[in-house]
């Protein structure tokens, strides 16, 4: 499906009426177009939203299902905000969305976006992200990743012009372990689910534990094997959470196959942290400080539901492009891309700090919230974790240890 969301001034017919107006004289039509084309009105900046539809598990405990428009609604709000701002400086923006079905070739979907799409907000798994970034046709495209938390996309598999608005698993795990270190809850029992994503999450927790001086005292795996853990949780989780003395049980269950039922069902009376329990996330329902409540309200008005981390990333991606255009006073894609990719670009994001893209891996540096469904328990970077540039760079790989080379200038 291809949906046109933005207000388009002019549109594809633009060239014809202009010629007509000059050559044949001013018809009423021509006048109308001329009015729309007054010199102050620049060509709109075209932003595309491309998503891969992925199969999602049925909610276990009657949670709200992951909405089909997760990400897209955030991008739409970003467009609304950008146009509301842009009108004061005669800049405007358009957004169209394209969702690729489960078996569809993502590259074919990309080709339907039109000739040389310059800015693509991408909500798709890591393999899709790489397939697109490596297309010759995408040479001039800036991708803004809002759906893939995979750390490798910011490390060995990073690409120039591939920006990451969503925090990586490494950033999320760093935020969590900073919190644990601050609380001195540093003995972690790590319980992983069977999915590949769970293994990646668990690996991120291991790395963060090493980075901040916490310890994985035991590891176990749990596979619900399609079984219904709701009935058996009381007994079932005792064994996998039995182990040496620990302060927390960290769970890696990204799809939510069992983690929610683990809470209060551990062998020892220990909090559950990770993908369930106390969760590190870029955004969430209880976030309200730094005027976040305004963004939450605007989003709820538009989408009729709460804003989720991928929605926030979608909003932030379009907002960053809009803000770059306003700062550059231009919707010229060249100028916008140059500014967004430059280290001097800073943008607000309702997190109480200026946000910017890291020059070494394209990751948006940003605070990460530690949430349980009732409240923001803490916001990372946690006080005490210092960095010479900005404390935000204590989350995720820092410049010296980054494996990304794509952003470094040769020589």
């Amino acid at each position: 499906m291809l949906a046109r969301l933005g207000k388009r001034q002019g549109g594809p017919l633009r060239a014809t009426p202009r010629r007509k107006a000059c050559g044949v004289g001013l018809s009423l039509h021509g006048l109308l177009w001329l009015a729309l084309l007054s010199p102050a009105r620049a060509e709109p900046l075209a932003i595309h939203y491309l998503e891969r539809r992925v199969e999602r598990p049925t909610p276990l405990n009657n949670e709200d299902p992951i909405p089909d428009d997760e990400g897209l609604k955030g991008a739409e709000l970003g467009l609304k905000d950008s146009n509301a701002t842009g009108r004061f400086v005669s800049l405007n923006f358009t957004l169209d969305s394209r969702v690729a079905a489960a078996g569809e070739d993502i590259r074919a979907a990309f080709r339907t976006l039109g000739e040389r799409p310059r800015f693509v907000v991408l909500n798709a798994p890591a393999e899709d992200v790489l397939a697109l970034a490596d297309m010759p046709e995408a040479e001039g495209t800036v991708f803004l990743n809002v759906g893939a938390p995979d750390s490798r996309l910011r490390e060995a598999d990073c690409r120039p012009r591939l920006l990451h608005v969503l925090p990586s698993r490494a950033m999320l795990a760093d935020a969590l372990v900073q919190f644990l270190a601050y609380k001195r809850w540093t003995r972690i029992l790590l319980l992983s689910g069977p999915a590949p994503a769970d293994a990646l999450y668990a690996e991120a927790v291991r790395k963060s534990a090493k980075k901040f001086g916490a310890r994985i005292v035991a590891e176990s795996r749990f596979d619900p094997q399609g079984g219904d853990t709701r009935d058996t949780a009381l007994r079932e989780f005792v064994l996998p959470t039995r182990g040496p003395e620990h302060d927390v049980v960290a769970v890696a269950d990204e799809a939510g196959a069992f983690g929610a039922n683990l809470v209060y069902n551990t062998a020892a009376a220990r909090p559950v942290v990770g993908t369930q329990g106390l969760t590190p996330a870029a955004w969430g329902r209880p976030v309200e400080a730094w005027a976040a409540v305004q963004l939450q309200t605007r989003f709820r008005r538009l989408a009729g539901r709460a804003m989720r981390p991928i929605d926030y990333a979608g909003w932030m991606a379009v907002h960053a492009l809009g803000e770059a255009a306003v700062q550059a006073r231009s919707t010229d894609p060249e100028k916008v891309a140059e500014l967004v990719l430059s280290p001097r670009f800073e943008v607000g994001g309702f997190k109480g700090r200026p946000l910017s893209f890291r020059a070494w891996d394209g990751q948006l540096r940003q605070p990460v919230f530690l949430l349980w469904p009732g409240a923001v328990t803490a916001t990372a970077p946690i006080e005490g974790f210092q960095h010479h540039r900005t404390e935000l760079d204590t989350l995720g790989p820092d410049e010296p240890e980054s494996a990304c080379r794509a952003f470094r200038k040769p020589g």
């Binding site: 605007r298 306003v326 607000g348 200026p354």
Partner: protein, 337 residues
């Protein structure tokens, strides 16, 4: 013990105090989370009384004669008109949705109200209680100020990151000046030639020539041992002689003192936690700051630029205004002169 008893005691003490020394200066503070206003006695620097107001009170200001208090009750979607002596609500003014801050024009009756949630500035005549206009501005309008000659009003928009200029005679938005990320407060110099606007996330204060509407200076801040992104300018107060500007720096817990002629930062004054807004007494000897996280007000001696007292008020103190004695004009936060 019930909550009402100490409140009543405080109230009585306040009224008695008022009767005893009618000239004593009073400082009013809105407590965003408590839905109350605390009143500090300017001589004793103690809270003499507090009274309930609408939900989520933020900006507050006085009529010229000090006999009327206006409070933005954001979550009640109203500007409340209150008797400052008794705390009694006289009536509500139509304010548009979610009023956050406002400025009273020099005519003492036209209120310019920033409606944070729907990107408008509402203009209300406080006497006829009629809405004169609703003007489209950028997303999340916040700071409001009216020029001393009353001809120009400005509002800052936190997400659009601009200062919007409103022509008062026609009540239309005529221009917008982009400034740093998340502009909060705006204040005109006493001569009306310069507009100062703080950018919380940008970490800067822009000084804008009010005639050309161009930024002429961008002031930055630096405090040893504090990360640059914690220096977040919010409230601004300027002295009448044009010598100094005071800028609240949010979570750095500091107020910057700036030479208003050279734009050099002269000093940083340590105050309570997450300092929001500022208000100066008309004689410009004392400066009061609201500290949102520590729930108190720091009193600064302007001559020595030192904090002299911290006064516990309610939860999340937000706005602060010095009640003018009869006949004098006033200077306060969220309500530029």
């Amino acid at each position: 013990m019930s909550r009402a008893a100490p409140l009543r005691l405080l109230l009585c003490a306040g009224l008695l105090g008022l009767a005893g020394s009618a000239k004593s200066q009073e400082i009013f503070v809105s407590n965003e989370r408590d839905n109350t206003v605390s009143v500090i006695d300017g001589a004793t620097l103690e809270v003499t009384r507090s009274f309930p107001v609408g939900r989520r009170p933020r900006g507050l200001t006085f009529s010229r004669d000090g006999r009327t208090l206006y409070v933005c009750a954001s979550d009640s979607d109203a500007v409340q008109v209150i008797d400052p002596d008794t705390g009694a609500l006289r009536h509500n003014l139509p304010s548009g949705e979610d009023p956050e801050q406002f400025a009273l024009a020099p005519d003492d009756r036209t209120l310019f109200i920033a409606n944070e949630e729907n990107a408008t500035t509402t203009v209300v005549d406080a006497q006829t209680r009629k809405v004169l206009a609703q003007i489209d501005v950028g997303i999340e309008p916040e700071g409001m100020a009216v020029s001393p000659d009353g001809k120009t009003a400005v509002t800052t928009s936190e997400t659009t990151n601009m200062v919007h200029w409103i022509d008062v005679p026609t009540l239309t938005a005529i221009d917008a000046t982009p400034v740093g990320q998340r502009p909060r407060a705006a204040a005109f110099s006493a001569d009306g030639r310069m507009l100062w606007a703080s950018s919380e996330i940008g970490g800067t204060v822009a000084v804008i020539d009010a005639a050309t509407r161009k930024v002429v200076e961008t002031i930055e801040f630096a405090v040893k041992g504090i990360a640059a992104d914690r220096l977040q300018p919010v409230g601004i107060t300027l002295t009448g002689d044009g010598r100094f500007a005071f800028v609240a720096l949010g979570p750095s817990d500091r107020v910057a003192v700036i030479d208003a002629k050279t734009y050099k930062v002269l000093n940083y004054i340590l105050v309570g936690r997450r300092v929001w807004q500022l208000a100066m007494t008309p004689d410009e000897t004392r400066l009061f700051t609201t500290n949102g996280v520590s729930g108190d007000v720091t009193v600064i001696d302007v001559a020595t630029q030192r904090p002299i007292r911290s006064v516990k008020v309610g939860r999340f103190p937000w706005g602060v205004a010095v009640r003018p004695a009869s006949g004098t004009s006033e200077r306060s936060a969220g309500a530029a002169p």
